[in-house]
Symmetry: C2
Subunit: 452 residues, 2 copies
Amino acid sequence: MSLFITTLKQRRQKLAQLIDIPVILWSGKAPSRNFRANRYPFRASSHFLYFAGISLENAVIRLENGQLELFIDDPAPESTLWHGETPTRDAIAAIIGADRAYPLEELLPKTAHAATIGVQDLATYQQQQNILNRPIFPSNAPKEIDLTLAQAIVTLRLTHDQEAIAQIRKSVKVSIEAHKIGMKSTALATTEAQVRGTMEGVIMAHNMSCAYGSIVTVHGEVLHNEEYHHPLQQGDLLLADVGAETQLGWASDITRTWPVGGKFSATQRDIYDIVLAAHDNCIEAMKPGVEYREIHLLGARIIAEGLVNLGILRGNPDNLVEKDAHALFFPHGIGHLLGLDVHDMEDLGDLAGYETRRHRSDRFGLEYLRLDRPLASGMVVTIEPGFYQVPAILNDSQRREKYQNDVNWEKLAQFADVRGIRIEDDVLVTETGTEVLTIDLPTQATEIERLC
Amino acid sequence: MSLFITTLKQRRQKLAQLIDIPVILWSGKAPSRNFRANRYPFRASSHFLYFAGISLENAVIRLENGQLELFIDDPAPESTLWHGETPTRDAIAAIIGADRAYPLEELLPKTAHAATIGVQDLATYQQQQNILNRPIFPSNAPKEIDLTLAQAIVTLRLTHDQEAIAQIRKSVKVSIEAHKIGMKSTALATTEAQVRGTMEGVIMAHNMSCAYGSIVTVHGEVLHNEEYHHPLQQGDLLLADVGAETQLGWASDITRTWPVGGKFSATQRDIYDIVLAAHDNCIEAMKPGVEYREIHLLGARIIAEGLVNLGILRGNPDNLVEKDAHALFFPHGIGHLLGLDVHDMEDLGDLAGYETRRHRSDRFGLEYLRLDRPLASGMVVTIEPGFYQVPAILNDSQRREKYQNDVNWEKLAQFADVRGIRIEDDVLVTETGTEVLTIDLPTQATEIERLC
Ligand SMILES: [Mn+2]
Ligand SMILES: [Mn+2]
């Protein structure tokens, strides 16, 4: 039996140890892009992928007592003309170690008392309700047996087995190549779009896809900037948050920030080194049992401290963090779970990110924290501190008043050429500490300059 | 008033001349990719784009008497943090020459007796039915006033105004660059995926997207092959069907087939020249009033004739086409409409492609013809003859029997290194004939070799 099948069977067994209800998971369908024959690339539901192992469109699995039944239709004879020979149901069943395999129409009689998780594509979601003959709450608010199932899956997917980690390493490797080539390509590029095309081209060349919409921008202060139309100018910093996903669906998530002209200015370098210090210290402090929230607060403190040293913030770093002054410049969380999803299991709302009975804070400095659990061996998380001058934050009159005396606004004005910096690595929690999976991509400013 | 707004107003006026019912069109929303914050790239509905001009997510337009009312919400204050400053409703209204603009909630009271076209994303489709308070048939089977609207839109979109043609030229230009760089990159590439990454990278570098899922394959005989895992080997032909789409949504659609090793073999060259002859003769024969179906049959006849000359087919070319023997090797249509969609208006089923009262043939050699209308000045169509050795066709026992004496199977076996060839150009029908919009990308075998 292949290692792949062994791993899949272990996942199925572990699920059976956690719950004793039958489970039915749908893979989903590719959405149409304006007309039916023009489809977005298919991406199977992550929960399906976790137990079925491979991407199968319009397939369903039924799990019970560690056994897997696969429901999928054989390709229509006519589809051979357009899509070539594709594997039969039985061949697929062998690949994934299914215990039995049936056409889709045989699912209906086997649905009694089964739990499921709502998928994202509405057509399949409606099918789920029709076939299970009951309302299904959306996946970010599961109820009753579906909540029980979601909690069991969270328990399993929170920490990764060797096969999963091997997949994440594969996607990380390609992402690193994309970033290195992206850095090198910047000297000859004149727009963000060109660097993006180069980086995503590398990912495609490895027959992988992007795990999320790439951010490649000289306006890093726009946090979710998925436009690429700005010209590159000497003196700009380019922030690239680009990550590959393997064919089996496992993600990576890497951000680097580099100088368009190949050299950081003195002010850029000063801020860069603060963000890097936060990054390094956070990773250093991680090990099983440590609260991720404390890692976030440590990152915040180091950023506050660095900004005090530069004269941008005034006062005691601990006090500044307590009043969320760091969040003026670092308004997001220090990172998140990584796995089959780039924000792993975010389809389940905060069920995966937040330990039972914990909830999002409404503090300005904590509300965007996506993970609030003690670290455990086998977790993969990102560490991604940043510094941004977000006009919507810094020009907000209430905030300006509240933090009037905490910020040296004249000093800050000297750092106008630092609009946005982020450094993001993917970190595996080990028995004793951490392994930085993205270690082969340098973070030091001088090494970044060398790669440009 | 800008040319852009003038054109949009003309389109709206022309619609008012064709129908006197109010029209409401939705732009749609980006589908989720496994969790809500991970979205596929947004693509607005083409009918919306045609009258609104630019891509606006979650927007609605209401057209009546040539006037356009825009319904869109201003960005939430909180979204500025994540997405930066985005234009206000009023700014957008000015860009597209809207006569009035309102928040979305003001749409409901203005929906009486309005026609619409069902969009592809199910969430918006449900919204359409809720807001119009009636069932809406899917766009490929519109009924009653929605059918009246669809027919009017087909009338408008069948031929293109100057602004549309300028957009198609823009996307063609980028696609040509992608193909040239793709050809040049092949010598150093070892997999299909690498060439695809290079070609799509060029499209992204121009801040455009792909109009459809790229085909880049050494197995061109799989007609809709959207996998890229095959290695490239000396002696293979690489078939690349790759087209860009402008930011305003206008498509291009180009296929070239080139030798991985830089030189066609004698057998490949023989077949290539037959496909090219079909391509050239079809374009030569096009002018307003000519039936596109006749162009298809002309292409079929030239392919049959060429194959007779090579000794692969036996008999009289006209008789061979009459019994669909050409379709053993050229099983698809000669092309299709091109515009905002790569298969323009295919969301409306055959309403655009087929003249009123015409329907798909069930003849093997005609059933995949997507366009059956007389050509008219301002139409843009593709011309894309091909030759394929599709195992599902050639090994089909019924077909083998039927065409037993029409094919010289031993002769055919000598052409085993020609699995799939297609040559596809985008052609504008002019007052007097045609203009090949893709003319700057060579089609001659020797010129292709020079580019490799
Ligand atoms: Mn991240
Ligand atoms: Mn085409």
